[in-house]
């Protein structure tokens, strides 16, 4: 049965010449799991909004959208509110009320549902999503992952038939993102139809039935994932977002069935006759001068709370890129804030370029010495246009272009563009030591590639960079050394090749896939090189 049919849909925003959506037609069967992907600004969010009557943006629309054979404009408000569920990107801002139970009841209250029914439905959904244990809590106390699960369950209490998700995991760490997607998958297997826009395709593509690829407002492919991915071989801006396994395959082959999961990738590698197992690489040489040093550092937030940093030791040398990885809430960001002198440590010593933090007189630390890019880059912006924001900054010297954004409001930029603007502001202080807190959060695959390029250029110019991140691909691509943060300190360090090939789960997808075949492949580039060095077995029929 067709749940949703879109016929010749076009949409143009007011004051725009180019339509945001151009002549799109498709239909979705009941129970399908659809992934919608495309580069930033290709119109995928607009398309999702057009499917939800309450959120249709201003502009002129042509074509038809049918939900269960009724044009969606003609759905009654109750039906459209309850039958089409919509979860957005930002976990925090979607929450309306101050208590978890009230948030869950909100949608049903709006439809004037009897209290006994509300009690039953919220109880059911709270148990399904494991919300029960924090049912009484304040919404502001929840973690990002919990907030997003709450948003999902607050939509699910209304028993929707179609669930639309607009980048729901963009602001989450990988573990919470994975939990969220698992919950969505479970819902889909219980019969719910899902349309999802995602940057984190690595995990979601193996779950889906069909992928819709969009480019400049047009639909360029809508097919089963193993086929649809083949069609983006020649569009690098789409390709870079695909799972690593598929990217490796597309580098090597041009047709056939594209592998999507680690297991399928291993089956593909089994076709090779492996003679060359590792890429020769030179041992890493660090500089003699120390940029940042932690000696037996202890920190806790409150007098009676547990230690977050427990005798942490760490030495980072000049002109290296160091990535600190580790689980959520383990204290990585705390360590970073402590080194920027934003948190007072109670014991131990932190030295920046050989001088104790305290011996930097007021403000001297932040002049030509150290700067930090916060996790939420929006907190750096104070003005109403990018131009005012960049006042006094010599944009010509930056290793990237921000001039083209000048007339817009900083809050209207995409995640990747905001990151660039924030970086421009941070670099203005001319730091020798740059601290980055989760720089890839909420940005798309293209912006991530661009960020990697910028970081490499900054390093060439002599900067020392410390990155706290969950993003293993980022660390594998650009770090000189990685450190694992656990139990209040750094437990192991090494070059990305040593670091990731030694881990079993906490590693890049490429390393997981190639473990039994190659010795030190951690990035797609490494794996491609090694595949090219080896030959395929001949007798494959």
């Amino acid at each position: 049965m067709e749940l949703l049919t879109v016929k010749n849909l076009s949409f143009t925003y007011p004051l725009c010449d180019v339509p945001a959506i151009q002549n799109i037609s498709f239909s979705i069967q009941k129970g399908e799991f659809i992934v919608l992907c495309g580069a930033t600004g290709c119109g995928k969010s607009t398309l999702l909004q057009l499917l939800k009557p309450e959120l249709i943006p201003n502009g002129s629309q042509n074509g038809e959208i049918l939900f269960k054979d009724t044009p969606i404009q003609k759905l009654s408000p109750e039906i459209s509110a309850s039958q089409i569920g919509y979860v957005m990107q930002k976990p925090e801002q979607q929450i309306v009320t101050d208590k978890v139970w009230h948030e869950m009841a909100f949608g049903l209250e709006n439809l004037n549902t009897p209290v006994s029914v509300i009690a039953k439905r919220t109880a059911e959904m709270a148990s399904y999503f494991g919300v029960g244990s924090w049912y009484d809590r304040s919404t502001s106390e929840l973690s990002g992952g919990q907030k997003q699960l709450l948003n999902l369950s607050a939509v699910m209490v209304m028993h929707p038939e179609l669930l639309i998700l607009d980048e729901p995991t963009a602001q989450l760490d990988p573990v919470s993102a994975s939990e969220f997607l698992t919950a969505v998958r479970k819902l889909n297997q219980d019969g719910l139809t899902v349309i999802i826009v995602e940057h984190r395709l690595e995990e979601v593509i193996p779950m889906c039935d069909r992928i819709m690829m969009m480019k400049d407002g047009k639909m360029i492919a809508f097919d089963k994932p193993e086929k649809a991915i083949l069609s983006v071989k020649n569009s690098p801006d789409l390709l870079c977002a695909m799972p690593s396994v598929s990217r490796l395959y597309l580098e090597m082959e041009s047709d056939g069935i594209c592998p999507l999961t680690i297991r399928q990738g291993r089956e593909y590698l089994a076709q090779y006759d492996i003679t060359q197992r590792s890429i020769p690489c030179e041992p890493y040489q660090h500089s003699e001068n120390i940029a940042l040093q932690f000696e037996e550092v202890f920190f806790r937030y409150q007098r009676n709370s547990p230690d977050i940093l427990k005798g942490m030791n760490l030495t980072i040398y000049e002109n290296e890129i160091f990535c600190i990885l580790g689980e959520n809430g383990s204290g990585k960001s705390t360590a970073l804030k402590a080194s920027a002198d934003l948190l007072p440590i109670y014991s131990g010593k932190i030295q920046v370029f050989g001088k104790k933090l305290k011996s930097y007189k007021k403000g001297a630390l932040y002049q030509n010495c150290l700067a930090m890019l916060p996790q939420d880059v929006q907190t750096l912006f104070l003005r109403n246009t990018v131009r005012e924001e960049l006042e006094g900054i010599n944009t010509g010297q930056l290793p990237f272009d921000v001039e083209k954004l000048c007339d817009r409001h900083p809050y209207d930029l995409s995640g990747g563009e905001q990151q660039l603007l924030a970086l421009a502001k941070v670099l203005h202080a001319n730091p020798k030591l740059l601290l980055l807190d989760e720089p890839t959060k909420g940005i798309d695959a293209n912006s991530k590639l661009q960020l990697i390029q910028i970081l490499r250029k900054l390093k060439e110019n002599g900067m020392t960079i410390i990155i706290v991140t969950h993003d293993m691909e980022l660390s594998a691509e650009c770090a000189d050394r990685c450190g694992m943060f656990f139990h209040g300190g750094i437990v192991s360090t090494g070059t990305p090749k040593e670091f990731f090939t030694g881990n079993y789960f906490y590693t890049t997808p490429v390393s997981r896939m190639t473990r039994d075949y190659f010795d030190n492949a951690v990035t797609v580039g490494d794996a491609v090189k090694l595949c090219k060095l080896n030959r395929k077995k001949e007798n494959i029929s």
């Binding site: 959120l55 209250e109 934003l342 700067a371 104070l382």
Partner: protein, 292 residues
Amino acid sequence: MQTIEELHPISITIYFMAVMGIAMFSTNPIMMGLSMTGAILYFLTRNGKGHFKMHLSFVILFTVLALMNPLVSHNGITVLFVVNDNPITLEAFLYGLNSATMIISILYWLRLFSMIMTSEKILCVFGAISPKIALVLSMSLRFVPLFQNQAKKVNDSQKAVGYFQSDNIIDSIHQKMRVFDIVLTWALENGIITANSMEARGYSVGKRSHFSIHPIRKNDIILMLITCILSGVCISAMAWGKMTFLFYPEITAPETDLFAVGGMIGYGILVLLPSIIQKGTEKQWNYLQSKI
């Protein structure tokens, strides 16, 4: 058995309104004494030791209030002594003492009320009156910490890139303004998302219902009935003028008859009720735990 604070917010509110209302409209010293005794006993049984500063400030306030009246008001016929040609009278002194008792006892009741009624319980009471007001309150309660948190984050971010280091007061005020300005923009920006999220879940479709996780139980009904009956007796005694107590020009108490005594006993039971229930529940708990 449940203590008073574990009951439904509406029955708690009714109870406190009755106790405080009667104390406020009565001038009878016995009633004041009862109200004070009940409030302090309940405060001590509920909170135990501690809160030393609060008690101390109440004692000081009590003394000031009690001594103020005879200095300002010179009514009354029994002159105790004269200061600067102003007579200090016994009646004015006693009146001061009486009203100080009233004010301090009300302050104790209010303190208890605010300790017991968390934001969520207040919301529940408003929800029963109007779901719309309840929603607005709930949203504002959520918004305040969000706003503060964002302002703190903006300050930290600016500091770590070398802004906001000036010692100059004018500069720092300027910076504070800028942060306030941008956090306001941020709030409005996010307000749009929140509005969309509300809209998407059917807000403004029609009449709203109000869900609450506090069910009304048997004990709530019992407390409401007890409150109504006891305060009813008390209020009618007051209405019949059985408790009128005049301080000026000389102290005149009406004849105490059965009705007045009934009212006083009723009020006495009412104010002592929370302490008794509190102690009773503790005993019951100890007994139940001893069986585990």
